[in-house]
Amino acid sequence: MSNEILHDDLDDFLKNKFEGHTIVPDDKLWARIEPQITMNMVPHAKYVRMKYAFIAAAASFVAVVFLWFAQNTSILNPKNQNNLSIVENSKLANPSNTELENLHEKSNATEKKIASPETKNASSENSNNLKVKANLADNSHYLAAISTDECQDLQLISKSEVCAPEQIRIAKIDPVECPGLITGQDHPSASIMAMAKKPIPPSGVPKPGKPATGKSSWSINLPKIDFGSLTFSSRRPLNRLYGDRNSGIFDLSEFLKKIEVGFNYSPLLSSRTLGKNQITENGNIDRQYFNDIEKALLTNNFGLDLLYRANDRWSIRTGIYFTQYQHETQNDALHRDVISPEQLILNTSAGKIPVYGTGMDQLSSLSVFNARIDLSYLEVPLVARYYWDTHFFTDAGMNYSYLKSSKTSITSEAYTGAFSYSGVEGMRKHNFALSLGFGLDYKLSSRFKFEIGPEVKWQVNSFASNGMNTHPLYWGIRAGIRFKWRNPGYRN
């Protein structure tokens, strides 16, 4: 207490000393300032202009990319495309160790999900009330508890009609700390809701030992089986369950302040320089013409990520993204490996494709094929981010991707039909890429910000494991919304 008085004394002393204190500036200062204000120069106007120019350039780039894709039609032969469905509907021979799928059957396949018999939810509102709602499902019994630091009262404010009063209990766990407990017996579709009134702390008078944030912490224990009598467990606030400040233990609250959740979408274009390739396989050398003309199609990449702000400058980003990659090639894959008559395969830039029984097995090995390749894969980035200032940043890191599915559609001038193959046989499932990106984030509100910037990815290995050692290059624009968990603890 005496220290507090001394501190207050010092604060008052300093405040009084500098109350109305002035220092008359040197004339040289005005001489330095005058030319600049005469030009009516706004400091950092250049920076502001650059920021908006950057946004405009990025938006223009996205628009141009979309327009470009909208205007370009498929390079696949339209005639062959018309026949595509007919061929796809026909039953294809199924060579051993390969997977041929009927696309229509695949598309009609549905996955039935088993609904969970248990539902529960809890919500916290930004107002001065905290709500906890528990939906009681069949054969289950939940306890929902509110624990607020400054909780005054706990009242039942609503319940479903099917929930009998004796099935709901409200009890104060600790009359000092005033948390409440709600419990209900087994009942289908019953729901209860309780509200704890939280007083607004007087402004400028923080509670001793606690910051005057006006927030209460709350915790929920679900589910908890109770056979007729109330049972209690440790009901400390969540942030304290994970350690206290300055205690040396991991502090969840401090950690969450540095976390940002983001949803990102990146339209990417791909590029591969393949040209003429020579493949040596089984001791035979065949001159091949891979991808004489390759046309990049729009690759969609989107997902959720987490950004950990280690400090003002450095962050780490990781998450999970889903990517739909596609490109079309002409003069693709003329190599035919005849291991046996039943295992006739085409060696394409998308991997080895079995063609026995499709009609294409009758084509000459010098026939020209066109291919459209669709891949979908999951991607986990691990990227370091460096903020040059409060808005501009550079991303650099690596991406791991797991190939989920692939589909290759092949047409040929020498064959009136088309052939489609789905599967990941002969493809690498695990792939790595290096990425480099630049970006700008723009604060939309105290919690949300928008970020945008160009990104380049260089794939360390190609998806196809057919002897070609190519490194696809992707470039595009990453754009997304980022959500700050709490008071960030960094400058922007």
């Binding site: 604060d11 204190h21 500036p25 330095r32 005058e34 400040r245 003002d312 400058r491």
Partner: protein
């Protein structure tokens, strides 16, 4: 100066009249320079902060909506500029290394209270950057620790710890100055 007179000067500044700008500068510069000195560790830094702040004041004067709050508005510009200045120079990136300060009871006797404001200013300027910012923001400006944490990009705990250390350091420095005088 009454509101009408200030209104005329501000209107003149907005129209780009240099005489009005000079009058405006003469009116507020002494106060702003004092604030700059409190947040800076030396005269050079203080004048840099002051100059950038004055340019910002003139640059963004058209955004000022309530003339009654002009002093507070300009003061906030100086404060923000000081924070930006030290962040830019990366001098805020240091660990809390003043935990070992002598925790002996230090009393603020009447002798200290008789210190001149310039001497007190020197004491504040001798503080490490972050301590100086925190003591200014908390003790003199009246910001809360949450606000300071947000402004400086530090945690609330760090802000409290820096304030505690700054108070101790100020008392030690003031003792030394008084001993020299005696």
């Amino acid at each position: 100066m009454d509101k009408t007179g200030l209104d005329i000067i501000v209107s003149g500044c907005l129209q780009g009249d240099i005489q009005h700008k000079k009058a405006f500068y003469g009116l507020f510069a002494p106060h702003l320079l004092s604030v700059s000195y409190r947040y800076a560790k030396n005269k050079i830094d203080a004048e840099d902060i002051f100059q950038e702040s004055v340019l910002k004041v003139f640059g963004y004067l058209h955004q000022l909506k309530e003339l009654e709050k002009i002093e507070w508005w300009m003061k906030r510009i100086v404060i923000n500029e000081a924070i930006r200045f030290y962040k830019k120079n990366r001098s805020l990136v240091f660990i809390e290394d003043y935990q070992t300060l002598n925790a002996a009871e230090l009393e603020l006797s009447d002798v200290y209270k008789k210190m001149e404001v310039d001497e007190v200013l020197k004491v504040i300027q001798e503080l490490p950057d972050r301590m100086r910012l925190v003591i200014n923001l908390f003790s003199i400006e009246g910001f809360s620790h949450e606000e300071i944490a947000e402004m400086l990009g530090i945690s609330v705990g760090t802000s409290k710890s820096n304030l505690f250390d700054a108070r101790k350091k100020i008392k030690i420095l003031m003792q030394e100055k008084v001993r020299r005088i005696i």
